[in-house]
C-alpha cells in the first residue's frame, strides 16, 4: 500500500485525514482509490481525463511523479499545489 499525504483543502475533503494508505500499482490507481474512498475529492486532483490537474504537483518518494508512475509498497506520495499563481 502507498502512503498518500494531503494538505488542506484536500485533507478536509478526505474527512480530515492528512495521511492515507491506499492500494494501487500506479499514481493514477492510488488517486482513483482515494476518490473511491472519499468521493468528495473526485475532480480535485484528477480531471475527467484522469489527468493530474496542471497546477497540482505529485511527488513520489520526493521526486516528481505523473499519472503512470509505478509504485512499490510503502511508497510515499505527496499531493501539493504548484507555486504558480498571480
Amino acid at each position: 500500500m502507498a502512503v498518500v499525504r494531503l494538505r488542506a483543502p484536500l485533507s478536509e475533503l478526505a474527512g480530515g485525514k492528512r495521511e492515507l494508505r491506499l492500494e494501487g500499482s500506479t499514481v493514477r490507481d492510488v488517486l482513483r482509490a482515494l476518490e473511491h474512498e472519499h468521493p468528495s475529492i473526485a475532480g480535485w486532483i484528477l480531471d475527467e481525463r484522469t489527468t493530474i490537474r496542471q497546477h497540482v504537483n505529485i511527488f513520489v518518494n520526493g521526486e516528481r511523479g505523473r499519472e503512470d508512475t509505478a509504485l512499490a509498497p510503502d511508497d510515499r506520495i505527496h499531493v501539493l499545489p504548484s507555486i504558480s499563481g498571480g
Binding site: 486532483i45 475527467e48 481525463r49 489527468t51 490537474r53 499545489p81
Partner: protein, 356 residues
Amino acid sequence: MTELLVGTKKGLFALQGENGDGFEISARAFAGEPVEFAMRDSRSGRYFACVTSAFYGPKIFVTDDPSGEWEQAEGLTLPEGDDKALIRLWSVVPGEKDGLLYAGGDPGVLFESRDGGMTWELNKGFWEQPTRPEWGPGAGGMCLHSIATWPGDPSRLALAISAVGVWLSDDGGETWRHGNKGLVPRYIPEEAREDTFALCVHNLHRHPTRPERLFMQFHGGVYRSDDAGESWIDIGTNTGLPSDFGFPLVIDPDDPDSAYVIPLVADLDRVTPDGRVRVYETRDAGASWAERGDGLPAEDAYLTILRQAFGREGSGESMGLYFGATSGDVFGSGDAGATWFTAASKLPPVHSVRVA
C-alpha cells in the same frame, strides 16, 4: 438595503449598502480563489458561486448564507474517457420550472439541475453537436456565458458562446440550431464570413415581457433580434455609441425597448474610451443611445468591465444598476443610470456583479 455579490479574482465579496452611499463588505468567501460568477436564486434563496481554483479546477458552491459554510454541487463534470475537461463555469441561471437551473461553462457546455442546484447533469444534446470538433474559443476560452430562458415556457432557450455564436432550442434543450443570421464578424475575412460559426458573442439578454426580443453585445457590434434570435439587426453603427465593442449588457424589465451597454475602445484596447467611464442607454430599441455618466470617473479612467460585471435590481425609473471593473471599483445607480456613486473600491479585479 441592497446586497451585491461581487465575484473577483481573489474571492467572493458580499457588499451591503444603500444607494448613494458606499457599500460595506458583509462577507468574503473563497479567499484567494477566482470567482467567475455568483448569484442568488430568488425562488429558493440559495446563493451560487462559480469558483475556478487555479489548482483544483472549476466547481459550483451553494449556500443559504454567504458568510457561512458553502457546499459543493455535484455532477459538474464532462464524460470520463473523453479528451476534454471542464475548464471554467461562467453562469448560473434559473429555469422556468420549479427547481430548474442552468449553468454554462467552458468548453462550450451546458449543465442542468432539477433539484434547485445541488446536483447537475450535462446537456447531452448540446454536448454531442456534430460540429463541436470545429469549435474554437475566444480570448476568455470557449465560454457559454449567456443562457436566455423564455418566461413561462421551459421549452424555449437561447444560448450564446464565445466564439460559437447563438444557439436556439424549442424542445427544452433536446435539439439545437444556430441563430446567427445578420451577425457580422469583422475579425474574419469577408469571403469567409458566410458559413462561419466562429461568432464571438459577448453577452445576450432576452426581454421578459416581449420574449421574442433579445439584445446582444458582440465582439465589435451591438445587435437586436425581434424574432427570438433567428436573425439580428445592427443597432451599434451610427447610433450614438462611442464604440460598439464591449462586454456586459443589461435591460430594464419594464421596457422592451431598453438596453444598457458599457463600451470599451476596441478589441485591441479594452478600456473605457477617452479615459471616461460611461454607460450608454437606449429607450428606442437601439435607434439611439444616450450617455449616462453623471457621477462616474470622467478623467484619466481607463477601466475594463468584464461580461458578467453588470447587474440590475428592480425596474423602471428606480432601477438599480451596478457594475465593477478590473480596477477593483464597483459603481452603482439607484435611478436607472441617471446618476452614479462609488459603491466600493480597492477590491480585487472584478469578474462579476449581481444583486442578491
